[in-house]
Amino acid sequence: MSRNRVIPGFGLSLGYATLYTSLIVFIPLAALAASGISLGAETFWAVVSHPQAVASYKLSFGASLVAALINLVFGLLVAWVLVRYTFPGKRIADALVDLPFALPTAVAGIALTALYGRNGWFGQYLEGWWGFKVAYAPAGIVVALTFIGLPFVVRTVQPVLEGLERELEEAAASLGANRWRTFRRVLLPALVPALLTGFALSFARAVGEYGSVVFISGNMPYRTEITPLLIYSKLEQYDYAGASALGVTMLVFSFILLLAINALQYWNLRRQGGG
C-alpha cells in the first residue's frame, strides 16, 4: 500500500496520526470510560437511567437536533445570499457569521437571556403578547444552540456553492426546468454532502454546549436541565464516577448519531457515483 505513491511517507504519517488521535482523543475518552465503569454495572445503570438523567438526554439531544435542523435551513440561506448576491456591507455580514465561534459562549448566553427574558427586547412581546416563553424554557435552549451552531453550516456550504458553475443552472433552464426544479434536482444534490457535514458539526457542537445554555435555560430539573449541566452538578458534589457515567452515556449516543450521519454521507456519495 505504501509503495508506488506519489507522496511518500505513508508509514510515518499513519503512525503520527494514530499517536496524535490517541493522545488527544482516544486516551482521555478511555480514561472517562474507565472512571465510569469503576462504579460497577448496577450503580452505573442506576445513575444513567435515573429519570432526571433520562429527561436531560431527551432535552439535550432533542434541542440539539432541532437547532441543527434550523441551522441547516437558514445556514444554507445565509450561504446562498453571501455567495450569490452583492450588497453593501456584504463583507461585514460575512465576518459576522464567524462571531459565534469567537464569542465566549457565556457572553452569548447572557446576551440571549437579556433579549428573550421577560423584559427583553424580544421576550416582552413574545411572552407578553403571545404568551410564548423562550428564556427559562426549552425554546431558549434551542435559540442558544442555534446561535452557536450557525457558522458550521454556512462555512461548509459556502465554498461548495461558490464552486458550482453558473452554467449548470443555465443548462437546466435551457432544458425547461423551472427555478424550483433547478434547485431541487441540480443544485441541492451537489450541496447535500456539505449540508450533511455542516449539520453533523452543528449538531455535535450543540450536544457538547454548556456555557450559553446555563444562562438561558433556567436549569430546572426534569424540564430545562441539559445533560452537561447535570454532569457539572455531579462534579460539584464530588461525584466524579457518576459524572463520568453520564459522560460515557452521552458519548455513546453522540457517537452513534455521528456514525449514522457519516453512513448517510457515504450512502449519498455512493449513490451519486462519487464513491
Binding site: 452554467e167 443555465e170 443548462a171 433552464a173 435551457s174 441540480v186 451537489a190
Partner: protein, 350 residues
C-alpha cells in the same frame, strides 16, 4: 426554424460586446460565428439563447419576436464549452433531464423517456455508457452526452458555444466531422461559436465573421476564403502576405510587386494595403521572365506543400510562398535568385 436578429446592441460597462448586429439564419442551416476571443460572438449566441438580453434590438424566431422570451420557453438546445453536465446524475439521467423536469401533464411516460434517451444515446454512439457518471467519461464523450441532452427536448434550434474548445486537437477533428454528419441527419437549425477558422471552414454551411462586436462578412466558407470583404477577414481567415504600397490607374505597386487594382482607377496615387495568399504567388528559378526578382531565404516542407520564404531586395519585406510539392528534390535552394509573380491579390485603401 429561421432566426433573425435585428440591430442588436449590448454593452458590458464600457465594453461594446455587440454593435448593431443584424443577421438571418435560415431554417436547417449550420452556421459558424467566427472571430477572435472577445469579439462578441458568444454574447450573440447567448442572446439568441435567451441567457442574456440585448440593450436594444430584436431576436425573431420564425418571424415572431422572442427577444425577451425566457430561455425556458424558447425551445433552444444549448451546448456549453465545458459541457455543464450534472455530475451527480448518470449519463441516462442527464439526457433524460429535459423530459423528466416537464410538468406532470406534459411528461412522457417512463417507458417513452427510456426509449427516447436510448435512441439519442445511439445517435451519439454512446449507448453503452448510459449507467456511467460524467466524471468517468473522456472530454469528447462528455460533449457528445451534452449534445444528446440538448437534443432530448427536441429544440427548434441548436446553439453550441465553442463546443470543441476544451478538447485536444485529435478529438476535435473527429468530432467536427461527426457534428457535420449529425446535422445532415437531423437538419435542425444550428449555430456554433468558434475561434478556430479551420473548424468553421470544415463544418459550417455559412460563416459569420465577427470582429469587435460588428459583422465583418457573411458567406459560405468558399466565399469567405476566396473573396474576403475586409482587411480583417483577409488576415483572420487563412494565411496572407500583407504588403503596403500605392495604387493608381487600376494598378497597385506593393513593395515592387505589380498587381491589378481595378477599384483604384484614379490617376492620383493612393496609399493601399494589399493581401496575397501564399499559394497565389508563382516562383520561377533564375532571373529571367516576368515578376520581381527576389532571393530565397528559407525552404521547408510541410506535408505536401513546400513553404518558401523569399526576400524582396528593395526593403526588408519577406514574402511567404506555398507551392505544391510531391517529393523529390526541392526546386529552390536558399540564397538562389528567383522571380516572384503574384497571380491574385486583393487591395484595400489605407
Amino acid at each position: 426554424m429561421s432566426i433573425q436578429v435585428r440591430d442588436l446592441r449590448k454593452t458590458f460597462g464600457h465594453f461594446k460586446a455587440l454593435d448593431d448586429v443584424s443577421l438571418t439564419f435560415n431554417s436547417g442551416e449550420l452556421v459558424a460565428l467566427l472571430g477572435p476571443s472577445g469579439c462578441g460572438k458568444t454574447t450573440l449566441l447567448r442572446i439568441i439563447a435567451g441567457l442574456e438580453y440585448p440593450d436594444s434590438g430584436a431576436v425573431l424566431f420564425s418571424g415572431a419576436d422572442a427577444t425577451f422570451t425566457h430561455v425556458r420557453e424558447r425551445g433552444v438546445g444549448f451546448v456549453f464549452q465545458h459541457y455543464a453536465l450534472f455530475r451527480h446524475m448518470t449519463v441516462f439521467d442527464n439526457v433524460a433531464f429535459g423530459l423528466t423536469v416537464r410538468p406532470r401533464r406534459q411528461r412522457p411516460s417512463r417507458g417513452e423517456i427510456a426509449e427516447r434517451v436510448h435512441r439519442l444515446l445511439e445517435l451519439v454512439q454512446l449507448d453503452w455508457l448510459a449507467d456511467r457518471y460524467p466524471d468517468q467519461l473522456s472530454g469528447g464523450q462528455r460533449q457528445r452526452i451534452a449534445l444528446a441532452r440538448a437534443l432530448a427536448v427536441e429544440p427548434r434550434v441548436l446553439l453550441l458555444d465553442e463546443p470543441f474548445g476544451a478538447l485536444d486537437a485529435r478529438v476535435r477533428k473527429d468530432l467536427r466531422g461527426w457534428l457535420r454528419r449529425l446535422h445532415d441527419e437531423l437538419h435542425v437549425t444550428s449555430i456554433f461559436v468558434t475561434h478556430d477558422q479551420e473548424e468553421a471552414m470544415e463544418v459550417a454551411d455559412r460563416i459569420v465573421v465577427i470582429n469587435q462586436g460588428r459583422v465583418e462578412q457573411v458567406g459560405t466558407p468558399q466565399e469567405i476564403y476566396n473573396a474576403p470583404a475586409s482587411p480583417f477577414v483577409y488576415g483572420f481567415i487563412g494565411d496572407a502576405n500583407r504588403l503596403c504600397g500605392h495604387a493608381a490607374d487600376g494598378w497597385a505597386e506593393l513593395a515592387g510587386l505589380r498587381v491589378p487594382a481595378p477599384e483604384f482607377g484614379q490617376s492620383e496615387p493612393r496609399q493601399v494595403t494589399g493581401y496575397i495568399r501564399p499559394h497565389d504567388i508563382q516562383l520561377q528559378a533564375g532571373d529571367q521572365g516576368e515578376g520581381v526578382a527576389v532571393r530565397v531565404e528559407s525552404v521547408s516542407q510541410v506535408g505536401a506543400a513546400l513553404r518558401v520564404s523569399v526576400r524582396i531586395p528593395d526593403g526588408d519585406t519577406s514574402l511567404q510562398v506555398e507551392l505544391p510539392h510531391s517529393g523529390g528534390r526541392w526546386p529552390f535552394q536558399v540564397g538562389e535568385p528567383v522571380k516572384a509573380l503574384p497571380r491574385a491579390a486583393r487591395v484595400f485603401a489605407g
